[in-house]
Symmetry: C2
DNA sequence: AGTTTCAAAATTGTATGCAAATTATTGCGA
DNA sequence: TCGCAATAATTTGCATACAATTTTGAAACT
């Protein structure tokens, strides 16, 4: 079993990525401690880790706050992540997919194919696609067999606002396109086309980033 | 002023990067607390952050230990870092160097030119080159104006053993070659040759990685 | 009214004590 | 002598108390 601090860390991490806390909001130690039914000590440990992970900003003697990203920042995040996902795809080709990794990616594609063909089940499609998307991309970074790369990718994927923007109010057309891109990426990896796989993965992420930034700017403009 | 936890964090971070603690060695809370003259609380905060930074491994109920990298791991680190430094160089071209950034890079090159021409001052060349190298690369990542990229680069540069391996027992020939590569990288950035700058920066890091890995394997073989 | 100042309240930083888990050690048996 | 089990010692996890800092709010002054 794990420690309480680890548990608090995990739950807060999910909550922030999911968008439960709006950007810039203060994370009160006593409040969280009360909510989890623990003392401030494990909460402080969790907050400290979350800050090191980049999900929170920390100011000495002033506490922690949910980090907020500007549109500029978000462009940088996705440009960086595009390079890393491209590298992961290339290394996945170089080192080869395991049976299990290939099976999982194929399963995700076939399942999504069925789901997307039937527009009746549109309710909850955002949450579904969020999970399916992760289930598709995880095997790729695993297949790179590069722990450091996997670590940096995790830091580039779990960013406040991103999940919420992409999967909260889903855009069925965008999901369809992303799904198509997945098919070609898997095709390239299986066909040992390293350069093509890298380019496709890179562009796949780049498009997602452009979408997130557009949504951020749109919402900001709409609210103003 | 900063907190004690932050101070402990900073000092431990430097010590680990410098190679004062050998890989795998346990970091005892009470020991460190005694050494710094503080209680365990700020030490725990510092260790927690260092673990999140990737410098320490953490096992629940068993504490923290200096993370050790195998040669395989190190290859992955440098492959990843090569992609990131390449991206930084490309974005530096796209966004342009500031006057100050250009001046700093040029100064480093001219200074190193003088130092390397005079082999009398070889004592302390490792430490000198370590600083000079950082002073050359930092402006590039700054010029990318990509905070996320800068953050990931920091995590890819400050790795246990790397600094010690590269700069503790310096190899004058390798330093000379790295210095030459710096000249071409700056040339490419100034000349707005994005693709060339990216390729040069990437290869520059790749070579450094190959050197570190060779040294690791050589030392391991020699010790066995 | 607006600004400044000062004090009260709230929040974070640190030390300490104790519970729980892990690690080391001792003693026994094969 | 080696392996194993049980216990002692060490180390970490958490809660709590208090100190230090920041934030808030109100009163006084311009």
């Amino acid at each position: 079993m794990s420690t309480r601090g680890q548990e608090v860390f995990r739950q807060l991490r999910e909550a922030i990525a999911r968008g439960d806390y709006s950007g810039g909001s203060r994370m009160s130690e006593v409040e969280i401690a009360a909510a989890f039914g623990v003392s401030r000590t494990p909460v402080r440990a969790a907050l400290s880790e979350l800050a090191a992970e980049g999900l929170l900003d920390y100011t000495p003697n002033a506490g922690y706050a949910v980090r907020s990203y500007s549109a500029e920042d978000m462009i940088g995040v996705f440009e960086t992540r595009a390079a890393l996902e491209g590298l992961a795809a290339r290394q996945a080709v170089e080192k080869g997919l395991s049976e299990a990794q290939y099976a999982q990616m194929k399963r995700v594609i076939e399942e999504a194919d069925a789901v997307l063909r039937n527009p009746g089940e549109i309710k909850g499609i955002g949450a579904y696609w969020g999970k399916a998307n992760a289930a598709f991309h995880n095997p790729v970074s695993e297949a790179s067999r590069n722990p450091h790369l996997q670590w940096l990718l995790r830091k580039s994927r779990d960013i406040p606002m991103v999940q919420a923007t992409l999967f909260r109010q889903p855009d069925i057309q965008r999901i369809q396109k992303a799904h198509d891109e997945h098919i070609y990426i898997l095709e390239a990896i299986v066909g040992r086309q390293a350069v093509r796989a890298e380019a496709l993965a890179r562009e796949h992420i780049y498009k997602a980033g452009a979408y997130v930034v557009a949504r951020m700017r749109g919402k900001a403009a709409g609210a103003a």
